[in-house]
Each structure stands twice: as C-alpha cells, then as structure tokens.
C-alpha cells in the first residue's frame, strides 16, 4: 500500500513540476494550470453551495454562518475556534499555504439540477477550488458527481444517505457527517434497552435515496434485535398532511412507529402522529413509541413539544462538553447570538479539514489533497477521535443518541444526549452490502 502511495506521490510531484515547466511560457492563460482552478495569485477561492431558498433555507443559512466563521479563523481573524483544539497544527491562521481564503456562495435550492448548476458556475466562473455544503443527499450525490468530473474536491455538508459514500462514492468526494447505517447501529442498543427486544415496528419513509437507505438500515438494525417489521410505507416528499398514512398504523399490531422523515416532513408526520394519540396508546400491553432516527434541532423546533421523549440520533450537539465543541460553540455563539446546528458544525469542520489537508500536502492539487485526507486520523473537532477512511472517504467517529428534552430550559435546549455510541460500534466493512455497488474510481485533478 505504501509503495503505491509513494509512487503516486512521486508521479504527482513529477507531474506538477513538468506541468509547471510546460506552463511557464503561457503562465497567464488557463492552459497554464496543472489542475482545475489552480490558485495563482495571493488568494484562494472556496465555493459554498447551500440551500439559500426553498424549504431547507434556514439550515442553509446556518451552514453559511459556519463557513464564514471557518474562513475568518483560517485567515487568522476571530478567536480561532476549533483551530486551537484541532489535533493537527498545520494551519497557522495565515490563510491556506499563505494564500488568503475567499469564498463564493451558490444556492442549491435543494434541487439536484439547481445545485449542479450553481456548483458549475462557482467552479467555472469564480474559480472555486473546492465545493462544500448542502442539506440533502440527493443534492450531495449530484454535486459530488459534478466535482469528480470537474476535478475539484467536494467536502459534503449535511448528507445522511448511505449512498453518498456507498454506491455513489467518488474519489474527489469526502463526507464528515454520519450516515443511516451508523444511526441504526447506534440506536439499536438504546432501543433494545428502553423498549425491549419484542417489538413490532411500522416504518413511514420519505420516498427518495436518503429515506430508502435509512429505512433499510434501521429495519436491519432493529430486526437484528429481534424486532418484527410490520410494514414499510413510502410517503411522497412534502406530503403535507400525513393523517392518511398515520391512521392505518392504528389498525395494525405495531407498537413502534419509525419516521424516516427529515425537515418539514418530519415535523408534519410527527405532529400528526402525536395528534392521533399514538403516544398515549397501549398495544400488546406496551406503550406505543415513536422513533425519529435522524434528528435535527433546527427542524425539531417546528414540532414543538411533540418531540419530547422521542429517541433519535444526531451527528453533533452544541451541549457537548469536549474542548473542540466548547470552542466552536463559543466562537459561533459570540458572533451570532445562538448555538450552531449540526449542519453548521459539519460544514465548519469540513472547511478546516480541507484547509488542513492542503497545508499538509503542501499543494492545492485535488489528488494531493485527497491523498492527505485518506486514512487521516484527527481529534479535537467535536466528535472525539475520527478517521477519514481511505476506502470510501467516510468519517468514522462516535454517534450521539439523543432524546427530545422533557423540560427545555431555552428555545435551543431541545435535545439531550442519552448515549455516545463509540465509533467501533458503528464501523462497518467497506464492502458491506448496504454500501456496495460503486467504486471510488481515480482521483481527477481536472
């Protein structure tokens, strides 16, 4: 393995030198670049592609706040945030490799085609060398494919589908956020401890890539506990009123309802389920329970007190007490007046990880950056020890099992962490059947 690495690095170096040599006579033309959007001046441009309109606009706005904070910290402004707690010390607060960090933003609208168009424009017109952000797996998979073709690095934002680092993984794409399999693996032991191993689960699932993989993951994890899956019902995205999907649950012997919904759908389906008295119901002499495997605090606000006592999982939460999380919450909270969301956290961390990888590689060449990220172990960014696995470009770290708080003390205090599931329990083999079917392929430098 190390032989291959050495050869590859040597090839890269030789290529870069040869490229630079060839480029000399035409240094002011685009043909001079050794790779896509090679930064020539005193600055480097990052592209932040977030939903600025559409139903996930609030989450997008929070991602953008985190990106701005990360850029400030990289350029040596502010209090430095997690740069002070990050295990790598390659970043010195003078930009990236001495180049000042600038950024452009695009609007994904949470639509794959719009997201591709805005990413393309940032790469082609604004010279973005890296694309990050997003709040949907459909968008992440689409933009990741585009970045692979264009020869830039994609640092995924909030995307939870197994496919992003499974069948749709790409050599230029990297995901820090956890995935549906990890949610299932983290939740299962907690569900068994609290609700027992003899349960009948009924799934309502958002009908797109993320919903399908989450349904598959949670069903597999709960069936392994001994739970029986009564039914899996797909619901259209943005169904609005879920009453006609909730009422059939009353007629089955299901005693757990699993809502594979996110955003507005989660708010509506959960609100409807509570309205129909599911939580007050007794089935098979057990209390009826509702589980929301992927919780988002920003979205949970819309469901109000309906989330109280409901179990789910999350990538990160502002109440964590490790040094990295505290530093991030402090800088974010001081600048904006409220704590960051998990979407903001993953975007901030991804930006730092990218910058750090460039600094360690000593080059902006996407293939050198990818190599620096592959198999990289780090700490101090809020999730404990984390590995960027080389096989699929997925981060492996602890997963939080959370519960809707019964007595919130503030409008931000909606979730409480009930268990931190160690990374070892949520790690799977790279060729796990839920992630099979795709290949990273070769890195593309443009």
């Amino acid at each position: 393995m190390s032989n291959i690495d050495l050869t590859r690095r040597r090839v890269l170096k030789t290529g870069a030198v040869a490229g630079a040599g060839l480029a000399l006579p035409t240094i002011f033309t685009s043909g001079a670049h050794a790779f896509t959007n090679e930064p020539m001046g005193g600055s480097v441009t990052l592209g932040f592609n977030v939903p600025q309109s559409g139903p996930y606009a609030d989450e997008g706005a929070d991602e953008l706040r985190a990106f701005q904070l990360a850029v400030e910290h990289l350029n040596g402004m502010g209090d430095g945030g997690m740069l002070n707690t990050f295990s790598s010390k390659a970043l010195e607060g003078n930009g990236i490799l001495g180049k000042k960090v600038e950024f452009v933003t695009g609007d994904t609208q949470t639509k794959s085609d719009a997201a591709r168009a805005s990413a393309k424009s940032m790469i082609e017109k604004d010279g973005a060398i890296m694309i990050s952000g997003g709040s949907s797996s459909g968008v992440a998979v689409a933009v990741q494919g585009l970045c692979q073709e264009a020869g830039v690095i994609f640092m995924a934002g909030l995307t939870h589908s197994n496919d992003t680092t499974g069948k749709d993984k790409k050599a230029n794409g990297f995901r820090h956020f956890f995935n549906a399999y990890m949610s299932g693996a983290a939740l299962a032991p907690v569900l068994a401890a609290r609700y027992g191993t003899d349960r009948n689960a009924y799934h309502l699932t958002a009908d797109y890539t993320w919903g399908w993989t989450q349904e598959e993951s949670i069903a597999a994890a709960t069936e392994a506990l001994g739970w029986n899956t009564v039914n899996k019902v797909r619901t259209p995205l943005g169904a609005g009123d879920f009453s006609s999907y909730i009422t059939p649950v009353l007629q089955t012997d299901a005693d757990v309802l699993i809502l594979n919904h996110y955003g507005g759908d989660m708010v509506n389906s959960l609100t409807n389920a509570v309205q129909f008295g599911l939580r007050d119901k007794m089935v098979n002499n057990k209390n009826f329970e509702i589980v929301v495997p992927l919780f988002s605090r920003l979205m949970a606000r819309g469901a109000g007190e309906n989330i109280q006592g409901i179990l789910g999982s999350t990538n990160w939460h502002w109440s964590l007490q490790d040094e990295g999380s505290k530093a991030f919450v402090k800088s974010f909270g001081t600048k904006y007046g409220f704590p960051p969301s998990q979407a903001a956290h993953t975007c901030y961390v991804q930006t730092l990880l990218y910058a750090d990888a460039v600094a360690r590689a000593g080059s902006f060449n996407p293939c050198a950056v990818a190599e620096a990220l592959e198999g990289y172990e780090f700490d101090g960014l809020g999730n404990g020890k984390t590995l960027y696995r080389a096989d699929d470009h997925q981060c492996f770290k602890d997963v939080l099992v959370v519960r809707g708080k019964e007595n919130p003390t503030s409008e931000f205090d909606l979730l409480e962490v009930v268990e931190v599931t160690p990374a070892s329990q949520v790690t799977y083999a790279p060729d796990h059947p839920m992630f099979a079917g795709g290949a990273l392929g070769a890195c593309n430098a443009g």
Binding site: N272, G277, K281, R301, G302
Partner: protein
C-alpha cells in the same frame, strides 16, 4: 371497517380545507371572472395570522437570572411574556394557550384588508386581460407573498399548537361498539370539520338570504344588466374578493395546529384546489364544496395500504385521474353552468 371509517374521517377533514379554499376561488371566479392563483398564498397568510398573534401574545421582556447560565456560560436571560406580567400568569397563560382561536377574530380584518389591497392594487387592472395574463400575474403575486413571509418568519415550519383543552382524541370506536382505541380522531380535526361546515353555511346563507347576496348573485348571472339598473356591482364584487380572502384566511388560521405553518403551504394546496374548482364546475359554489369533500375522501381512500398494494402510487394521482374522468364525461364539471369559461 375501522379503516374505512377512519379514512372517511380523514377525507372529510382534508375535504374541509379543500372546500374552504375552493369556495373562495370559485367565488372570485364567479364574480370577477379572475383566475386567482394567489389564493393559496392567502390561505398561507391566514395560517401566519395565527403564528403572528401567538408571537404577539408571547412578546416578552427579559430579566437576568444570575443563578442560571445560558449556552455561553453567561447569566441567563429569562423571558416573561407581557400578557403574563399584565394579567397574571393564569389569565395571561390562557390567552397564549388560546392564540389560535383568538386569531380567528384577529385575522378577519387583516384578511379582508389583504383581499381589498390585492384586488384594488393589482388584480382590477387585469379584469379585461386574457385568463393567461391573470394566471401569470396572480402566480407571480403568490411567489412574492410567500417570499415576504419567508423573509420575516424563516423557511422552517413554526409550531402553532391548539389550546390544551383540545389536545387528545375522541374515541369513536368505543362509541360505535368497536374495540377502544381503534377509531380515534383528534379533537382539533373534528373542530376543523365543524368550523368549515359553519363557514360554508354562513357564506351560502349570506348569498342566499341577504339583499347584498341577491345582488351579487344577480351580478354573477348578468353583470351588465345589474349595472344598467344603477347598481355599483364592481364595489360589491370587490367586497366579495375580501370575503373570499377572509374565508381562505380562516381556513388557514384553523389549519395551523394541524400542520405547522411554513411559507410554501399555500402552493401545496393551490393546485389541488384548482382541480377541485374545475371538477366542481367553474364558478359553481355548491360544486366547489361537493368536489372538495369528494376529492378529499377519494384521496384518503387511495392512500389505504390495501389499495396501494394493488395500485402503487395511486394516492398521488387519484385526484387528477378523477378530474380527467369527470371532465371527459361532464366537460363543465359536476355542477358547472353553461356559458362559464366558454366564451
């Protein structure tokens, strides 16, 4: 049997919302001849009237509690709503709890004003233009309105719960001799159905039993003759636009506890309600109400698992399928009158 009963209730509930919105749509079409694509946005603004009143009642002053800390470790600011400080925690708390029913009163003048402003400010300039122009301009208006709401309230849904007294469900199963807990239906949804019935009844009575209503109906039948009789029919029609806006707004206010309001909820209903109007017959008030309930019930039945296992995805298209069949067999819709949209 239980499933059918439950889906019937679901259908009546959905149908209530469809009927209320479609009633306003068809009222505007029947009087002013305008195809108003901004009507969904009016429904959405109604729901945000409930959100706004709830925010006004929750308007708070901050006191610093040195014993508690906020998320940054600074002394926490404790918020106390003004109404609780003024009227005592009990009455003030009850006011906040009853924000949605109170918003009915709050919303009527606002919605009528919004309706007048829309009609006088924009839509009246399009009376003589083709329907395509009307659709474009009202659709544009709908997008502007929803972006304005998004600017002030954000994109996430906002929880607007019903009063505590109406939480929980009514057990029909126990009443009808089935197993308890098999046929339960939330109180608030039952109230919504009853409320819709009252509003629809009031609108029909107003048009049927008042002189004003009689003139409006005469104007709908033959605008020119009524005008020649020296009656200012335009002013009455403007009032009807305000009334239609109020009906859609009330539908929105009462819907807020069922679905947490968000800025695009109007668009979600708009297309369906247009189908309802077309199926009911353009300009026909009873047609809109009947079609609203009919399509609501059909949609609920189509989403039953037993039916979906035979015809997957049928719940998504049933309304449009029915619309096609009805328009093929009765091109004017269920209760459409001759001559409407046929010039």
């Amino acid at each position: 049997m239980e499933t059918i009963l439950l889906q019937l209730l679901n259908g009546l509930d959905k149908g209530s919302a469809y009927a209320l919105i479609a009633l306003g749509l068809t009222l505007i079409f029947g009087t002013l001849g305008v195809v108003n694509f901004a009507h969904g946005a009016i429904f959405m603004i109604g729901a945000f009237c409930a959100v706004t009143l709830s925010r006004i009642l929750n308007w708070s002053f901050e006191t610093i509690d040195p014993e508690k800390l906020d998320f940054l470790g600074n002394p926490a600011k404790i918020k106390t709503p003004y109404v609780e400080a003024w009227f005592g925690p009990e009455f003030g708390g009850a006011l906040i709890d009853w924000a949605v029913p109170l918003a009915i009163l709050f919303s009527i003048p606002i919605m009528i004003a919004v309706g007048f402003a829309m009609e006088r400010g924009l839509i009246k300039h399009f009376y003589k233009r083709p329907h395509a122009d009307q659709i474009l301009v009202t659709f544009g208006l709908a997008i502007v309105l929803q972006e304005v709401i998004k600017y002030f309230y954000g994109a996430n849904p906002i929880s607007t719960p019903a009063p505590d007294a109406f939480k929980g469900s009514f057990d029909f199963g126990a009443m009808l001799g089935f197993d308890p807990n098999m046929i339960i239906y939330p109180y608030w949804r039952l109230i919504y159905f009853g409320f819709a019935a009252v509003v629809i009844g009031a609108v029909f009575s107003f048009l049927q039993f008042t002189t004003f209503g009689m003139v409006v109906r005469a104007g709908m039948a033959d605008r020119e003759t009524v005008g020649l009789l020296g009656i200012n029919i335009d002013r009455r029609f403007t009032f009807m636009f305000g009334l239609a806006a109020a009906v859609a707004g009330l539908a929105g206010v009462m819907y807020a506890p069922i679905l947490s309001p968000n800025y695009h909820m109007g668009m979600d209903f708009l297309v369906l309600c247009f189908v309802v109007v077309v199926v009911g017959g353009m300009g026909s008030l009873p047609g809109a109400v009947a079609a609203g309930f009919l399509l609501g019930i059909l949609e609920s039945f189509a989403s039953m698992n037993a039916i979906k296992s035979i015809l997957p995805g049928i719940d998504q298209i049933i309304i449009y399928l029915v619309a096609i069949v009805i328009l093929l067999t009765r091109p004017r819709g269920l209760m459409g009158k001759k001559g409407v949209m046929e010039e």
